[in-house]
Amino acid sequence: MNNAPTPLTYEDAQIGFEFAPYVFHVTRDLIDRLADLLQEDLPVFRDPASAREAGYSDIVSIPVLVNCYAHFIAILDSAGYRRPGESFHSRSGFKFIAPVYAGDTITSKMKIVDKWVKRDHQYVAFNIESRNQHGQLVAEKYHASVWPSEATVRPSP
């Protein structure tokens, strides 16, 4: 692998490869917009007073915000790769460990953990570990997608 901006094909994907850390700044706007989109009205995600009453310092992000601060496309992008066109999400796994607040700076590290072929489709799987500015682990994520091959992305001339 190299750091040139290039599609990460199935053939390029090496199990065990670790991408450069990706840094993301969480904003209040993002937290609110996700809550709006999901129509989530639980007070701990919406109202600072209720969140403090529940023991938090401010409103908490809905845990699935991990899909933004630990987004595999963003991590590919920051490491000089890009998603190779048509790749379809197949499986997800999440472990929500600690609250994430507006103002947090989250650093995510992604690793290729598996690749396989099943029923004529090729798959690549990633694990992503995210920590806040205090070094505290906040979430772990597993993401597997149907992944294009070199022949699809780079057709022969």
Binding site: R33, L38, E40, I62, I73, E86, S90, F94, F96
Partner: protein
């Protein structure tokens, strides 16, 4: 939606269902919220939000993002728990996407208690479309 109390929870219990219609506007909003932020250098609408791009895929029409459709399980579970802290700080969610979700599909999110003890609860989860076809299946857990 009524919240559970930990002593009430029993194996086989069903959570109150959650229903959401996945609209084109919702898919585009999610794209703007997550995909655009993520792909900083050369962002353009993906096949989820761009009908022309979708026409080139095996589905030929736009489908909703898996990360959008699965996110509603978080709403379903956090609302039901006695304390959402057990989801925010100790929840797990695994999902498998088994059928595409199209613009306008109405999904009903289900969960059933598969195991429970004094500290945690495990759930079998699934989402069905308006034709009762399962589109997502998986498991979740939370601390009590």
């Amino acid at each position: 939606m009524p919240q559970a109390t930990s002593i009430d929870i029993k194996k086989g219990d069903s959570l109150p269902t959650l229903t959401r219609t996945i609209t084109e506007e919702m898919v585009i909003a999610y794209e703007e919220l997550f995909e655009r932020i993520a792909a900083r250098s050369d962002w353009k609408a993906s096949f989820h939000a761009d009908r022309e791009a979708a026409a080139q895929t095996m589905y030929q029409e736009p489908i909703a993002q898996g990360v959008l459709t699965e996110a509603f399980f978080s709403v379903l579970i956090s609302r039901w728990l006695p304390d959402p802290k057990g989801w925010i700080e100790g929840g797990t969610l695994t999902t498998k996407f088994i059928a595409p979700v199209w613009y306008g599909d109405t999904l009903t999110y289900h969960a059933e208690v598969s195991e429970v003890d004094s500290r945690s609860v495990r759930l079998n989860i699934w989402a069905e479309d308006q034709n009762t076809k399962k589109v997502i299946v998986g498991q979740a857990s939370a601390l009590l």
